[in-house]
Amino acid sequence: MSARPASDDRQGRWVLDRAARILMPVAVLLLVVLAWATVVHVYAIPPYVLPGPRRVLETMWADWDLLRDSLLVTLVTTLEGFALALAGGVGLAILFNQSRLLEYSLYPYAVILQVTPIVAIAPLLLIYLPQPVAVLACAWIVAFFPLLANTTLGLNSVDRNLADLFALYGASRAQVLWRLKLPSATPYILGGMKIAGGLSLIGAVVAEIAAGSAGAGSGLAYRIAESGYRLNIPRMFAALVLLSATGIVMFFVLSLFSYLVLRRWHESALARDR
């Protein structure tokens, strides 16, 4: 009865696996939303305590103009912070790699910047910097260290034989950096980017919340704080959903980018044939 060729069987399993990967999380999401709606309905919880999912969607629709503006503010801050962190983290790692003395001098301070909680730094930055700059600085501070650390690791992970080969052919420092070290570091940099994308959003949110209590700001996190003061819980949820969606989209875009760059040669991006 089971006379199907083995290749058909394998293909079928592959399609099933692919479908399950997408369908299962969606099913879980639907279940949770359904449970949420049911609980709100059955216990007749008022919206100022816990709004149902439908109420949140309605609020998002009704307040879309306001929320969209806030989303744009947060998105721009996050992307700017991420871009600066990418340039700063990779750039500094390259400088450290070229000059040991510079690394010895500055690396400890990069670590200090990383280990000091951003929530504690944000209020200070808000005193000394204009509010948008302070928010951007926070996004940058948290996002930059993973890029610095990962790029440094990558630049130091060059295959020894390849390094010998470059030496044998008399490669210049610039050639070694450009043709050997940076390509070797690419998978590490891409890994750092995936971490930094989420962190720059966190940095922006933390600074916006801190700024919000100081009375200025208009990003999504500020909307959440403001809606909280006004007991506008549905809008809080709506802003939270948008914030979360922003993080998810960033992660997927960066994962896709990483896959596209590495798919021809790196182990992490290769489909395994079992």
């Binding site: 030496a167 052919y169 008399g170 490669a171 040669w265």
Partner: protein, 268 residues
């Protein structure tokens, strides 16, 4: 005035490069080489044969300039016809050592790129790939190749600069026997048609006898020359040679020399 190097066959050809009393002690105190005397003559296929860890790879790296000798000296010929400058050396590592992010063609092109050659080196890259039978894999990535094909790409890269001296550090050690025999044969054909000088490192008696015109048997650490064997069998050598009584006899002689080298104790 250069010192003459004693040669077993008494020929007066000056060596391309000579190591004199070369010693190498690593930072961790390991003495890899001690008093190594070695002369590489133009056009020969010279094999350094010895047990693992006898410093034969270190000797090769010293010739390539990748490692500095702790003692002794390396002398390069300045004779007009035999002179080899640093950029006329090709090196093949034990692993294929290809850049995984670049295509086979880009890997083979690398030495020319690093030397600042103009962009129109496509023909030279193609010719080099053709020689090792990889012409149709120019746009493949290293991970898409088998172990033997990766090694072929590595050899194509070493040959693309038209080096006069080709240094090979156990290039086929990780390959299966069938692939290894094929590559041995192809390497000999290349050596004969291109008239290069080859210094080859291996721990395989059978490989060394099949390939070499001269074998230097080295002692275990610290490495030095134990015995020199001239393999007088005529080229071209093919599968018939590999199954001949002559080959078997040469292998037996070489095996005995290697066994004696391993048993050899440094005189007190």
């Amino acid at each position: 005035m250069r010192a003459t190097i004693p040669m077993t066959d008494g020929s007066p050809v000056p060596p391309i490069v000579a190591l004199r009393g070369v010693g190498k002690t690593f930072g961790n105190g390991v003495v890899a080489l001690e008093g190594l005397d070695l002369a590489v003559r133009p056009g020969e296929f010279l094999t350094l044969l010895g047990p693992s860890g006898c410093g034969k790879s270190t000797a090769l790296r010293i010739i390539a300039g990748l490692s500095e000798p702790t003692r002794g000296e390396v002398e390069w010929s300045d004779a007009a016809e035999g002179a080899v400058s640093r950029d006329q050396i090709g090196f093949v590592f034990q692993e294929p050592t290809l850049m995984p992010w670049a295509t086979v063609a880009a890997n083979v092109r690398l030495p020319l790129r690093l030397a600042g050659m103009p962009a129109d080196v496509g023909a030279r890259v193609a010719a080099s790939l053709e020689r090792v039978g990889l012409a149709s894999f120019a746009n493949a990535y290293p991970r898409e190749l088998s172990g033997g094909m990766k090694m072929r790409a590595s050899i194509a890269r070493a040959l693309v600069t038209e080096p006069k001296l080709l240094l090979m550090d156990e290039p086929f050690a990780a390959l299966d026997e069938i692939t290894r025999f094929r590559l041995n044969g192809d390497l000999l054909a290349l050596w004969q048609s291109l008239r290069k000088t080859v210094v080859f490192v291996t721990h395989s008696v059978f490989e060394s006898v099949f390939l070499s015109s001269r074998i230097i048997v080295m002692t275990p650490r610290p490495g030095r020359v134990f015995k020199e064997l001239v393999i007088a069998a005529t080229y071209p050598r093919d599968e018939r040679f590999r199954t001949s009584a002559e080959y078997a006899g040469l292998c037996r002689m070489t095996s005995q020399a290697l066994a004696a080298a391993i048993a050899w104790e440094k005189p007190a």
